[in-house]
């Protein structure tokens, strides 16, 4: 009797959330909060309420994220240190990027982004080697490469942010304002989402599939940068000078990233489903089971849908300020609606009609093409009010 009580007490104590936190968790929280506090104390005089709010909530989210996902800690610290290093190497202005060794080969935004690009492509190849050779070691290397690529991508964006201010105080802005910058964002977010599920489901077999989209994005990015000189930092046109942009764009890209992840998982699903049909025993059977793939596909579409809803609404609020109406049936807006309706229909089919399996996987892949059109095609083929990112 008493032993039961004691056991219960012990159990309740052990499982309590706060007590479950390790020493490292606390160290993490303290580091982040100290950093946030320092930033607040030093710069709050330069910030408005909105910016202070963002700073504080970023700090808190980072603590919680780090508690739930250890990988984020190393990533944040690496990004932080490298970015600070990169920014500190700029002493005499932008021209330092050509002269300073570290800037030139590592941490100027251009170099960091080249590192990111190279690492993502290498990671893709390595993931496929891991997949075909069934090599666990290669899988680990591929993961490490993906983490490093993500780090370099984030460093690239951070340093670019600073570089924009070096061009001119009035030119400086957060780097989410043109197609080049958002493509980097897209790669990073997709990779992070993937890495999250990689740990969650303890499988690296999907890496090659997901990184394939990222490699495609990188290929586009490089083409865009070299062929169209898109890597230059441009000042913001008046319509883009808005707070809404800073949250609308990242929210959108969580959506796009999640949809891309879902489509690539769907591809893996089709591969495995085919193998099962043929009762093969090949490599395809090392992929996670259909149940897991299906679940993962649903989860990332749900995540994407939630963020895409948020992003579209933020976009509408922004439009209300910039264009005089929350909805103008501008092609970009309209295509966002189409993407949204498409995934709404997908979710309904799954949740209320219980559709599963191949048709849903194919639909998720088609969904990516619709998304791609909304993301790129509209800028290329249709004209409208969305002024950034013309090809």
């Amino acid at each position: 009797m008493n032993s039961t009580h004691a056991a219960l007490q012990h159990e309740l104590d052990q499982q309590s959330f706060w007590k479950g936190l390790s020493l490292f968790d606390w160290v993490w929280a303290i580091i982040v909060l100290l950093g946030t506090g320092y930033a607040y104390a030093s710069y709050s005089s330069l910030m408005d309420g909105y910016e202070k709010g963002i700073l504080v909530s970023t700090g808190v989210s980072l603590v919680v994220l780090g508690w739930n996902w250890k990988g984020i800690r190393v990533l944040s610290l690496a990004v932080f240190l490298l970015s600070i290093f990169g920014v500190s190497r700029y002493v005499n202005g932008l021209a330092d990027a050509e002269v300073d060794f570290f800037l030139r080969f590592l941490v100027s935004s251009q170099s960091a982004i080249m590192w990111m690009s190279a690492l993502y492509v290498l990671a893709t190849v390595t993931y496929f080697i891991a997949f075909f050779a069934r090599s666990e070691y290669s899988g680990k290397v591929a993961s490490a490469m993906t983490w490093s690529a993500t780090t370099m991508g984030l460093v690239g964006l951070m340093v670019r942010w600073r570089e924009s201010y070096l061009i001119g105080l009035d030119v400086g802005h957060i780097p989410v304002s043109n197609l080049y910058e958002v493509f980097i964002l897209f790669s990073i977010i997709t990779a992070l989402l993937y890495l999250f599920y990689e740990r969650r489901y303890q499988t690296r077999m999907l890496g090659g599939f997901v990184l394939l989209v990222i490699s495609a994005a990188v290929a586009f990015l490089l083409w865009y940068a070299f062929d169209r000189d898109a890597a230059d930092i441009q000042p913001l046109v008046p319509a883009l000078q808005s707070y809404w942009m800073k949250i609308h764009v990242p929210a959108n890209f969580v959506g796009y990233g999640a949809f891309a992840l879902a489509a690539m998982v769907a591809m893996a699903y089709l591969v495995r489903a085919n193998a099962e049909q043929k009762q093969s025993n090949g490599i395809a059977m090392t992929l996670p089971t259909l149940d897991i793939l299906d679940d993962l596909m649903y989860k990332s579409i749900a995540l994407g849908f939630a963020f895409f809803t948020l992003a579209t609404i933020l976009g509408a609020l922004w439009a209300a300020e910039a264009w005089g109406g929350y909805w103008s049936w501008d092609p970009k807006e309209t295509w966002a609606l189409i993407v949204w309706l498409n995934y709404a229909a997908w979710l309904h089919m799954r949740l209320t009609k219980g559709w599963r399996g191949k048709p849903m996987a194919i639909w998720a892949i088609v969904g990516l093409f619709i998304t791609l059109f909304a993301f790129l095609g509209v800028n290329m083929f249709l004209s409208g009010l969305h002024s950034y990112g013309e090809l």
């Binding site: 009797m1 000042p235 679940d295 005089g324 309209t334 309706l341 709404a344 309904h348």
Partner: protein
């Protein structure tokens, strides 16, 4: 036994209203509507909406233009069929809420305490123990462990058993309701702010769009909308220092005039530029006058920072010229008249003029103070090409070409030119005439050269002076030869080198074509050169040692420009000499009362979607009953969503019990 034949009982016929309800609330209809809406939306993006009707006629031809017009393809989003789809979506979603919400609300609060042991044992997630502890003790443990895992719990003492039912994530059902109510609110709000009401009034004949280009005050009552029009979005261009109390709404192939209960003055309009020359901000200083206000409101608006007054939102939308005053020199392009005519006009005005005994109308349509163009210079992305004026020259037949003239010379490959663009219609790109600048930085030498080429006497003299030795033109004597020379020059000025070649092709025998045209070109060059040297001499240039390189380059450029003059299409070249810049600010003024439904709807939608996905409903039950060997404890769980995650969670909870009770 009864042997009576049993009367077959038909199932009671469902009432029509029930059938309708079923149809409207069906998922198939919902998905069909979602897909239909997407397709309609795609059409609207592929075909550019609300363009001038003439553009569509050009694109599709009169027949298809009419067909497409009938089915509303030029304004898909306010066509009746599109509104019909939206309307059905509202109806269907409402029905769906009506049918599901009561259940969901109940389910949110219900702990399912009537569940049977059998059901529990059949669930996917279930585990049973036989334990030695007392029922009370186990019950105590359950009541601690369930809340510890986030479940709220209810106890029921049944006949020989105790059932503890736990539930978590009831809010996901609320999420469903929020999401779907939000859809209804947003659609209704959108319908209010769209132009459905206006369309209805138009169909009833209460409003007719105005298609003529006339002053707002002359627009008849039938094309005017009063203060009672609750939702609209229109635009108006206000020159600095002026005010307006009306707006223009583009409607079909015309417009409507919307009256405002106040007037807006634009005191000043400003464009700021980045160092690179790209625009940085557009701002207008506004004053709002309203009888209801004791003091007028003064405020500065800019892009992304509108002024909200009395439910009306006033936005900085665009800018244009507000009637800049222009002083221009009109240089005649034909004949020997050297003196330019002074012309004073204003952007937006028409200026009648007489050139070479023909009436022409100059219609200045735009003036720009800056022209920020992509730069050829790799160091700089953009360059400011300075002020420009855009205008049309209309001849007596009413035909016009459009021109774009730059005020200051621009550099190209080291030399400077006056640029004048010309095009036949707005659909074309401008093609540019490059008029070279002389040593003094002016246009005079070019004009002197051009006029010299139109001066027959002069040409006669020069042709005589020139000794065209070796010229084997197919003519017999000098007089004829000179005549031919002058004709050749005339031809060149009128139609360019192409005209000369054409002439050769007409006259020369085919086998000698090449030879003859080379000859013509050489002779023409010689003649042009001689005229040019004459112009230089008259200017006072010493040519005894020949012509220097710049002057030679000038000759080439000037001759090329004159060769292109035939296609220029204006009898004069306008040189902008001075201007007074007046700007106009393009405002958009909107009233959107539907916002009051749409914005709360958006908030509900976000909340609802996150609740639905991230607060999945999960249930646990603990069934305790006294058995022979001890207490039978059945733990079972059920979730409708995220079953994989739930199974994992169930295993963890099961393990907790295992440790506490069997540990």
């Amino acid at each position: 036994m009864n042997n009576q034949p049993s009367t077959p009982i038909a199932p009671p016929a469902p009432r029509t209203s029930a059938l309708w309800l079923k149809f409207l609330g069906s998922m198939n209809l919902a998905i069909t509507l979602l897909v239909a809406l997407s397709v309609a939306a795609i059409i609207g993006t592929v075909l550019q909406q609300n363009q001038p009707y003439t553009d569509y006629i050009i694109k599709f031809g009169p027949f298809w233009f009419d067909v497409f017009n009938q089915i509303g393809l030029y304004d898909v989003y306010s066509s009746s069929w599109f509104l019909f789809i939206l309307f059905f979506l509202v109806l269907s979603t409402s029905t769906c809420i009506y049918r599901n919400a009561p259940n969901m609300l109940r389910e949110m609060r219900e702990y399912r305490q009537n569940i049977q042991l059998k059901t529990l044992e059949n669930y996917l997630n279930t585990h049973s123990w036989v334990l030695l502890q007392s029922v009370e003790d186990i019950q105590h443990v359950v009541q601690k462990i369930l809340p510890h895992n986030g479940y709220s719990a209810r106890l029921k003492e049944g006949d020989g058993y105790v059932l503890i039912s736990g539930m978590k994530g009831g809010a996901s059902r609320l999420g469903y309701i929020l999401t779907h109510v939000a859809i209804v609110l947003i659609c209704i709000g959108g319908l209010i702010d769209g132009n459905a009401i206006l369309k209805a009034r138009e169909m009833l004949g209460q409003v007719v769009p105005e298609t003529r280009n006339i002053a707002a005050s002359d627009v008849p009552q039938i094309s005017r909308l009063g203060f009672n029009n609750q939702s609209f979005r229109g635009s108006v261009s206000i020159p600095e220092g002026r005010q307006t109390d009306v707006l223009f709404l583009n409607y079909k192939d015309g417009y409507l005039v919307q009256e405002l209960p106040f007037s807006v003055e634009v005191k000043d309009f400003r464009i700021e530029h980045y160092e690179s020359g790209q625009p940085k901000s557009f701002e207008s200083d506004l004053v709002v006058y309203d009888e209801r206000l004791s003091v007028p409101i003064e405020e500065t608006i800019s892009v992304n920072h509108p002024l909200i007054y009395d439910g009306y939102s006033i936005y900085q939308a665009s800018f244009s010229d507000g009637g800049s005053e222009l002083d221009m020199l009109a240089w005649p392009l034909a004949g020997a008249n050297k003196l330019p005519q002074k012309v004073k006009t204003k952007v937006g005005d028409e200026f009648q003029m007489n050139v070479l005994n023909e009436p022409w109308v100059l219609e200045a349509s735009n003036f720009r103070l800056f022209n920020i163009n992509p730069s050829d210079n790799p160091e700089k992305k953009f360059e400011n090409a300075g002020p420009s004026v855009q205008f049309k020259m209309r001849n007596k037949m009413g035909e016009a070409k459009e021109f774009l003239n730059y005020m200051v010379p621009v550099e190209r490959d080291g030399a400077y030119y006056y640029l004048s663009g010309v095009r036949g219609s707005p659909a074309e790109e401008f093609r540019y005439l490059y008029v070279p600048v002389d040593d003094k930085g002016g246009i005079d030498r070019f004009m002197a050269y051009l006029h010299a080429l139109g001066d027959e006497e002069l040409l006669q003299r020069i042709a005589t002076e020139q000794n065209f030795i070796g010229a084997t033109l197919p003519t017999k004597n000098t007089a004829q030869l000179n005549e031919a020379m002058i004709r050749l020059v005339g031809l060149f000025v009128k139609n360019g080198m192409d005209g000369v070649i054409e002439q050769v092709e007409k006259n020369a025998p085919a086998e000698k074509l090449d030879e003859v045209s080379k000859l013509y070109v050489r002779v023409l060059q010689q003649m042009l050169g001689a005229v040019y040297v004459d112009v230089l001499i008259k200017e006072g240039v010493d040519v005894s040692l020949g012509v220097d390189e710049t002057k030679a380059e000038f000759f080439d450029a000037a001759s090329a420009a004159i060769g292109a003059m035939g296609r220029y299409g204006s009898p004069v070249y306008f040189q902008l000499s001075s201007f007074v810049h007046h700007q106009a600010s393009g405002l958009q003024i909107a009233k959107a009362p539907g916002k009051n439904l749409v914005y709360p709807g958006c908030a509900m939608l976000i909340l609802g979607v996150f609740l639905m996905f991230y607060a999945p409903q999960q249930r646990l039950w603990a069934w305790l009953e006294q058995a022979d060997e001890g207490v039978k404890f059945v733990l079972a769980g059920h979730a409708i969503r995220n079953k994989l995650d739930f199974s994992k969670q169930f295993k963890q909870i099961q393990a907790q019990f295992e440790r506490v009770l069997n540990g």
